[in-house]
C-alpha cells in the first residue's frame, strides 16, 4: 500500500523519499523502481526498528535532519493467524505490539518533529477490522482499534495547528499481507485504488478514510448490530 502511495506522490511531483522497513533488500527493489518513475526524486532506504522506543526515536531523528517532514505514512503491520495467536501468547503480544504500539510510537515521534516545523501530514493505516471486535480477527482488530482512538486523540491535540492526521481504514485489499490468508475474501480491493483513495483523502485533510468508501456504511451497520445478534454470526 505504501509503495503504491509513493508512486502516486512521485507521479505528481519529485520529492525526497525515505523508505523505512525491515527487509532492506525488498525496499531497494522498490527504491530502484521509484527512481525510474521519478528520476528527479531522491530515494533512501533505511532499516527500521519497530519495537524499542529509543530506536524508533533514533530512526525518526535520522531522517534528513534539519529538513521538515511533509508526509509521514505509517503503514507497517502484519496479519497473524487468529487461531495461532490465541494459542501462542508470544505471537499475540507481537501482533499487538507491531500493529498498535509500534505505529503509535512512530506517530508520536513524527508529531513531535512536525511541531518544530509547524506543519505536516501524518497518515496512519488502520483497518475496518478496528471498528468492532470480531471473533475471526480480534487480535489484529483490537490493535487497529487502538489506532482509532490514538488518531482521534492526536487530531484533537493538533486541531489548531497545520499538522493533519489522517486515519485510513481499508477493507480487505490485495497485498502481500493478504496473499497468505487461508480464506481470503473474494472481492478484495486493488491496492492501486486504495492508494488513490489514501493520497486523495490525505490531500484533502480527511480525518478518517474508508477505502473503498462502501466500508463506511458497512462498518456503521456492523458496529450497531446488538451483541445478541452479532454473537450468533461467524464474522
Amino acid at each position: 500500500m505504501a509503495e503504491h502511495c509513493a508512486r502516486l506522490w512521485l507521479a505528481e511531483a519529485a520529492a525526497d523519499v525515505t523508505l523505512i522497513g525491515r527487509d532492506t533488500a525488498r525496499l531497494e527493489i522498490i527504491a530502484a523502481d521509484l527512481r525510474v518513475r521519478s528520476p528527479e526524486s531522491s530515494v533512501t532506504v533505511v532499516e527500521g526498528q519497530f519495537r524499542d522506543p529509543a530506536e524508533i526515536q533514533g530512526v525518526v531523528d535520522a531522517i534528513r535532519p534539519g529538513d521538515p517532514v511533509d508526509i509521514a505514512l505509517i503503514a507497517h503491520g502484519f496479519l497473524p493467524d487468529q487461531e495461532e495467536s490465541q494459542n501462542d501468547l508470544t505471537l499475540c503480544r507481537d501482533a499487538l505490539e507491531i500493529n498498535a504500539v509500534s505505529p503509535a510510537l512512530y506517530a508520536e515521534a513524527f508529531a513531535a518533529r512536525m511541531m518544530k516545523s509547524g506543519y505536516g501530514t501524518i497518515i496512519i493505516i488502520g483497518s475496518v477490522a478496528g471498528d468492532r471486535g470480531r471473533k475471526s480477527n480480534y487480535i489484529y482488530g483490537s490493535a487497529k482499534g487502538l489506532l482509532n482512538i490514538y488518531a482521534q486523540g492526536l487530531q484533537h491535540r493538533l486541531a489548531f495547528t497545520s499538522i493533519r492526521v489522517t486515519l485510513v481504514k481499508p477493507g480487505p485489499t490485495a497485498t502481500p499481507m493478504t496473499a497468505r490468508m487461508k480464506n481470503a475474501p473474494k472481492n478484495m480491493a486493488s491496492v492501486e485504488s486504495v492508494a488513490r483513495d489514501i493520497v486523495r483523502g490525505a490531500d484533502h485533510g480527511a480525518a478518517v478514510i474508508y477505502t473503498p468508501a462502501k466500508w463506511r456504511l458497512i462498518m456503521l451497520i456492523v458496529r450497531l448490530v446488538p451483541n445478541f445478534l452479532f454473537h450468533k454470526t461467524n464474522l
Binding site: A25, R26, I29, I30, A32, D33, V36, R37, P39, A174, P176, A179, K186
Partner: protein
C-alpha cells in the same frame, strides 16, 4: 479456489491463484504449487493463460522497473509491468514501445509469451524483435538468462512460447524514439477487397501504422475503412490527451448485445460515419488511435453470459486476396460475425520465436458471439480455407482449433518441445500439446 476467465469469457473454471510479487521468491512459490501457468492481465481470448482446476501464477504484482536508460531508450522491468505504464512513463522522455497490440493493458510477460504484434508490423516486426534479454525461472529452480550473450535458443523458445518454458521474471526492452505522443492519421473508405489491398500496399512505404476494419455482414463483402498513421515529428504544446473517457460496461447483459439484429445497423453506421472522414488528415493522441477499446472497461461483457470467440488467422500474401474473399463470404453467409473485423498485412521481418504467429502475409481477426455448434461449424469451414492456403491460427486468440491445424501452422513445435518446463501446463497445452 477462484473462478478465472480469459478475455473471451467462455468459461469460468476454478483455479488456485498464487500471487507473485517478489521475483526472488518465485522459485519457491513455483516449486510449492506446480504445475501451473503464469497469468498476466488475462487479455488472451482462449485458454493459453488458463489452467482449469489448477494453479495460476498471477504475475501482475511483479511490477517494478529496474532501470530506464533515457539515452539509449532501454527499459529493464519485471514481467508484470503493463505496456500502458511503460509508454506513459517513456513518452515524456522521448521514447515509446516499438510494438504494442490492440490493447496496452497487457503485461510484459504476456506480450512476450504471445509475441504480440501491432499495426506496424511491416516497419517494426513483433514484440519479440525488441526484447534484448529476459530472465526465465524454471520450476526446477534454475534461472536462465537469455539474450545476445547466450542462451539465444531459450529466447527463441520463450518469445511466443505461451508461458510454457518458464516464468519470465524480468525483461530488457529496446524502445524507439518519438517526438511526442501525437500521430498524424488518415482514414480511407474502400468498397472492395481489391481496393483494400491496393491501399495497403501503397501505404507500406509512407505510413508506419496501418489497419483496416472490414464490414463482414454484407453479402457483397469487402467494404471497410483503412486507418493509417505516422508519428508526428513535431512537438506540440499540449501534452495531455483529450479527457479519457471512463465508459464501462458495468454488468453482463443477459444476452449478447452483438447479434443478428444489431450487427448490420452497427456496421452500416460505422462505415457511413467513417466514410465521411475519408481522406481527412487529423492529429490524434496515440492512445485512442491505437487502443480504442481500452477506453471501454470490460467491453468483453457486451457479448453476454456465454462469452465469445476470436478467430485470427494468417495466410501467405500470394493468393491472400482470394482466400480472404472466401473467408469473408463464408462468414457473411453464416449470419454470424462481429462488429470488430480487422485486416492487417504482416511484413517480411522474421519473428524470432519458435511458435511466433506473425509471418509474412495477411491476417484477419474477428470476434464471434458464442453460438455453440453453429459457430464451431463455421470455424471448421474457415479452418479448411486457412489450412489449404498454408496459413495458421493465432494461439493467443484460440479456444478451439483442432490439433492438426495447430501442428500444421507451427512447424517448429517439435523443436519447441525440448524447451518446455515440465512444471508448466495450461488449458491450451493440455488441449493441443498432450499435457
Amino acid at each position: 479456489m477462484r473462478a478465472v476467465s480469459s478475455w473471451g469469457r467462455l468459461n469460468a473454471f476454478p483455479h488456485s491463484p498464487v500471487e507473485l510479487t517478489d521475483t526472488k521468491k518465485v522459485a519457491s512459490q513455483m516449486a510449492g504449487s506446480a504445475p501451473g501457468i503464469p497469468f498476466g492481465m488475462g487479455r488472451s481470448y482462449g485458454d493459453v493463460c488458463l489452467h482449469p482446476g489448477g494453479t495460476i501464477w498471477m504475475s501482475s504484482g511483479m511490477d517494478h522497473y529496474l532501470s530506464f536508460d533515457a539515452e539509449a531508450g532501454v527499459v529493464v522491468c519485471e514481467a508484470g509491468v503493463l505496456l500502458r505504464d511503460i509508454q506513459r512513463l517513456s513518452v515524456s522522455r522521448g521514447w515509446m514501445l516499438p510494438v504494442t497490440p490492440g490493447t496496452q493493458i497487457v503485461t510484459v510477460g504476456g506480450a512476450i509469451a504471445n509475441d504480440v504484434h501491432g499495426k506496424n508490423h511491416h516497419r517494426f516486426g513483433s514484440f519479440g524483435n525488441h526484447v534484448r534479454r529476459l530472465r526465465l525461472q524454471r520450476s526446477d529452480g534454475t534461472v536462465i538468462d537469455c539474450g545476445p550473450e547466450g542462451n539465444k535458443e531459450w529466447l527463441a523458445a520463450t518469445v511466443g512460447g505461451l508461458g510454457l518454458t518458464g516464468i519470465i521474471l524480468e525483461a530488457e526492452l529496446q524502445l524507439r524514439p518519438v517526438a511526442g505522443p501525437w500521430l498524424e492519421t488518415e482514414t480511407l473508405a474502400f468498397g472492395t477487397l481489391n481496393e483494400f489491398f491496393q491501399i495497403s500496399d501503397a501505404s507500406e512505404a509512407d505510413w508506419e501504422q496501418g489497419v483496416a476494419w472490414i464490414d463482414c455482414t454484407r453479402g457483397n463483402v469487402g467494404r471497410g475503412l483503412f486507418s493509417r498513421a505516422n508519428p508526428l515529428p513535431q512537438v506540440i504544446e499540449k501534452s495531455q490527451p483529450e479527457k479519457r473517457s471512463r465508459l464501462s460496461i458495468p454488468m453482463t447483459p443477459p444476452f449478447s448485445m452483438v447479434n443478428g439484429l444489431s450487427l448490420r445497423p452497427f456496421n452500416n453506421l460505422y462505415y457511413t460515419m467513417g466514410k465521411r472522414k475519408h481522406a481527412m488528415r487529423r492529429v490524434e493522441h496515440y492512445e485512442p488511435f491505437l487502443y480504442p477499446l481500452d477506453n471501454i472497461q470490460q467491453w468483453n461483457r457486451m457479448y453476454g453470459p456465454k462469452g465469445f470467440y476470436q478467430y485470427q488467422s494468417v495466410v501467405p500474401r500470394d493468393g491472400a486476396q482470394a482466400v480472404t474473399q472466401s473467408m469473408l463470404e463464408e462468414i457473411a453467409s453464416s449470419g454470424n460475425g462481429s462488429f470488430l473485423a480487422v485486416l492487417k498485412t504482416f511484413g517480411s521481418r522474421p519473428s524470432i520465436g519458435m511458435l511466433s504467429f506473425p509471418r509474412p502475409g495477411v491476417t484477419l481477426a474477428l470476434d464471434f458471439r458464442n453460438g455453440g455448434q453453429a459457430t464451431e461449424r463455421l470455424f471448421q469451414r474457415l479452418d479448411a480455407i486457412v489450412s489449404e492456403a498454408g496459413g495458421a491460427i493465432y494461439a493467443a486468440k484460440d479456444a478451439r482449433m483442432p490439433r492438426w491445424l495447430f501442428e500444421a501452422g507451427y512447424p517448429r513445435l517439435g523443436e519447441f518441445a525440448n524447451y518446455r518446463d515440465p512444471g508448466i501446463r495450461s488449458g491450451f497445452s493440455r488441449r493441443l500439446m498432450g499435457n
